[in-house]
């Protein structure tokens, strides 16, 4: 496979400039860049909403916002962070990295690639605009449980249709990733020689294709229940509101692994590079990822232990959930074993990766506590759950994304970021993230419910600390933006092989790589 050089040269003369370049682009790097910038913007919009929440929760009582608006903030914050910040960031990384990691000229289906991206800004504009409606935005939580979500105002169909668009975008993106990985690898790159990041994305793509349509089904039923008089979720007609929860979480739990598997891939790439050793147990990493993905389809009801399921159901879902800890443990073990006796250095990507291992594991442990049915009866719908999923998602997924950006930024831009600023960013972020989310464990165990704008006075101190942490975390991310722009302005160019311990085809390309990645497929030994 080699790309037609003449034709490609021809293309350069036709490439539109300015905004049209970005609207019409089919280039995996351009699209990757679009995804990453979009994700960063959404990260800040979702972050502002989180700060509204934390500002209100700084003290007990109602100070800043009315409860209805508070609920809109929690709902929109989650939807934006999940579908707008974390998922697009991973797709952006996939776009940039997969072709240059497997030696392909581009993604397999370039027009579809453009489409998956451009759906996002439109869908989110539609979703966020509902906040300005007279009846306000969605307020029933990102999980959209009926009957509450059926009682929303005019925003309801807009939000549902925008989620349909997000699902479409994810499915198209996933199809593209699968076609690229299965069909575009350089000769000699067998599946078991693929970079681990590519493996994790391949498995994530399957999760997306299996899970997103189920979400589409669930929200379609919400729509018809509200507007066409069906009774899927109405007991008087023979349906059941709990049915929605089953379908939603059948999507929802694989979704949380969609949010973490690519992060596993990133950490498994960065840890060996800065330990100057091969990844410990590559094969077991692949199998662990695959088993996590498979198991993730039979654990969903651990989100609904308190709805009154039959005992057999509670026990089944408790055991399967705990089973996931086994492959997850394999991964953590392998990361630590990779570092064991390595000649380690601690550049910014490595710092974020190590923090990932430590802090993600804390989230894993709180997950295990939640997985125990009797314990969950106490913890469910408290801040303990909030602490759990923020530990896996912020110092988990988000840290991995930040680590990936620091790791590959010199490759993408051809410029080196400022290492001391990077380290400063790391320490600020890590300290504030713990300040924000650790106290939530305590108030949660003591019984503070989630999604409520007011709370009993005994929770006041820990909440004040969490709010201070949140503002610190938010402000620290402005430093990240500064570092990004500062990098673009640097004078010295980065080397092609930026990190001496890094491995992979992407480091054989120039920094920044040529517009068309591998015009001639590289040989893989």
């Amino acid at each position: 496979m080699s790309a037609n050089i003449d034709k490609l040269h021809d293309d350069h003369h036709h490439t539109p400039s300015g905004i049209m370049r970005w609207i019409t682009t089919t280039n995996h790097k351009d699209i990757g860049t679009l995804y990453l910038w979009f994700s960063l913007i959404m990260f800040f919009i979702g972050g502002l909403m989180a700060l509204v929440i934390r500002a209100e929760l700084f003290q007990p009582g109602l100070q800043l916002v009315v409860p209805g608006f508070f609920n809109q903030m929690t709902t929109m914050h989650a939807l934006i962070m999940i579908f707008g910040a974390v998922m697009p960031a991973f797709v952006g990384l996939a776009n940039w990295q997969i072709p240059i990691m497997i030696g392909a000229p581009d993604m397999a289906l370039p027009r579809l690639n453009n489409w998956s991206f451009w759906i996002l800004p439109f869908a989110f504009t539609m979703m966020i605009s509902t906040l300005f409606f007279e009846s306000g935005g969605p307020a029933a939580g990102w999980t959209l449980y009926p009957p509450l979500s059926l009682q929303g105002g005019d925003s309801m169909p807009f939000v549902i249709l925008s989620i349909h668009m997000l699902g479409l975008s994810s499915i198209l993106g996933a199809i593209n990733v699968i076609a690229t990985i299965l069909n575009m690898r350089a000769p000699g790159m067998t599946l078991m020689k693929m970079p681990i990041f590519v493996w994790t994305w391949l498995i994530t793509a399957f999760l997306l294709i299996a899970a997103m349509p189920v979400l589409a089904g669930a929200i379609t039923m919400l729509l018809t229940d509200r507007f066409f008089g069906t009774s899927f979720f109405t007991a008087s007609g023979g349906g059941d509101p709990v049915l929605f929860q089953h379908i939603f979480w059948f999507f929802g739990h694989p979704e949380v692994y969609i949010l973490i598997l690519p992060a596993f891939g990133i950490v498994s790439t960065i840890i060996p590079a800065f330990s100057r050793k091969k990844l410990f147990g590559y094969d077991s990493m692949v199998y662990a990822t695959a088993s996590i993905a498979l198991l993730s389809f039979i654990v969903w009801a651990h989100h609904m232990f308190t709805v009154g399921m039959p005992l057999a159901g509670e026990i089944f879902f408790m055991l399967t959930t705990m089973l996931i800890a086994v492959p997850t443990g394999v991964k953590v073990f392998n990361w630590v074993a990779t570092m064991w006796r390595g000649s380690m250095t601690f550049e910014t990507p490595m710092l974020f990766a190590i923090a990932f291992i430590v802090l993600f594991t804390i989230g894993g442990f709180s997950g295990l506590m939640l997985a125990m049915v009797p314990a969950d009866f106490q913890y469910h719908d408290t801040y303990f759950v909030v602490a759990h999923f923020h530990y896996v998602l912020v110092p988990g997924a988000v840290f991995a994304i930040i680590a990936a950006v620091y790791y590959w930024l010199p490759k993408w831009t051809g410029k080196m970021y400022n290492e001391s600023l990077g380290k400063l960013h790391f320490w600020l972020t890590t300290i504030f993230v713990n300040l924000t989310f650790f106290p939530m464990h305590f108030v949660g165990l003591a019984g503070m419910p989630r999604r409520i704008p007011d709370y009993a006075v005994q929770f006041a101190d820990f909440n004040a600390i969490a709010s201070v942490g949140a503002f610190g975390f938010g402000l620290s991310q402005l430093l990240f933006v500064y570092i990004l722009f500062d990098t673009l302005k640097q004078k010295v160019s980065a080397e092609d092989k930026v990190w001496d311990g890094a491995e992979g085809l992407e480091w054989t390309l120039s920094s920044p790589p040529p517009y068309h990645s591998f015009e001639k497929a590289p040989k893989v030994e």
Binding site: K7, N27, N114, P213
Partner: protein, 287 residues
């Protein structure tokens, strides 16, 4: 013209962006319509028309590229993977509704009827309720209705779709043997069978609404019945339209015996619609 060695990467495209714009117009219109604003319908119609035009434009580009031989064997494989996994995503979409049907029949209705540890649910909420399928729930939502029997139209429709699965395979053989008559008549038959199916389905709906008092609002039976058959009927319609396009392309002499991904993709889609129907026939109409 084309270099069979190169993987074709189109250098720019306006279609996806335009398509998104059209989709948003369509959805804004739909949401407004659902919210009860009069403007909704016309916005929706505008979006739909735009979407059709743009999709036509997009596919025209792809078809002419394909006819010009721009796509090499590797591109063909990408298309195949794309279509396979797209169909799989559709399977999962239907799975959600089949899951709802299963849950209603095996769990929520028995529980409302007081099975096992759920006696108190029944006693407290609707003590008079006895669970017999088909059910429109403990409050007899939508009033008494008559269920749709599996014999009659659904059985005929099953035959129609199964036959159409054969005719499309027959056409495929025609294409591989370069037998144009077999190809085009095979496709024509398939398309006709498809549209007759849709016609029968429409008739069945009218019959259900006017004679059986079976409506979307007829509790969980009506909900699952119309949702499953409705989405399936929509997919049959789409499939039949796509087959029609393929038929016209065949008549223009597109596709060759060893290179006809477009044909195969639509044929796969048709078989998928067929299989879903079998599921419907068994679980919605029969059992």
């Amino acid at each position: 013209m084309s270099d069979s060695n190169s993987y074709y990467v189109p250098h720019e495209t306006k279609w996806p962006f335009l398509n998104t714009v059209a989709l948003v117009v369509l959805f804004i219109g739909l949401a407004n319509y659902l919210n009860g604003y009069n403007s909704g319908m016309s916005i929706m119609a505008t979006g739909l028309v735009l979407l059709l035009i743009i999709t036509y434009g997009w596919f025209s580009d792809v078809v002419s590229e394909s006819e010009a031989g721009t796509y090499n064997a590797q591109v063909d494989i990408s298309f195949r993977w794309g279509m396979v996994w797209f169909i799989f995503s559709e399977v999962m979409f239907f799975a959600a509704f089949f899951g709802a049907l299963y849950y209603a029949r095996e769990l929520s209705l028995p529980w409302l009827g007081g099975v096992g540890s759920k006696v108190s649910t029944n006693i407290v909420l609707w003590p008079q309720f006895e669970n017999v399928w088909p059910s429109n729930g403990p409050t007899n939502l939508g009033g008494d209705f008559i269920l749709m029997k599996a014999g009659g139209i659904p059985a005929i429709n099953t035959l129609l779709l199964l036959t159409s699965g054969l005719t499309v395979t027959w056409a495929h053989h025609g294409l591989k043997e370069q037998n144009r008559n077999k190809l085009i008549y095979g496709l024509l038959l398939t398309v006709l069978l498809g549209f007759i199916f849709v016609g029968f389905q429409a008739y069945e709906y009218m019959h259900a609404y006017s004679d059986l008092n079976l409506k979307m609002t007829s509790g969980i039976y009506g909900s699952t019945f119309y949702m499953l058959t409705g989405f399936h009927g929509f997919h049959v319609t789409l499939g039949a339209i796509m087959l029609t396009v393929i038929m016209f392309r065949c008549m223009k002499g597109h596709f060759s015996g060893d290179n006809h991904f477009g044909f195969e993709a639509v044929a796969w889609y048709w078989h998928f619609v067929d299989v879903v129907w079998l599921g419907l026939f068994v679980f919605v109409y029969w059992l």
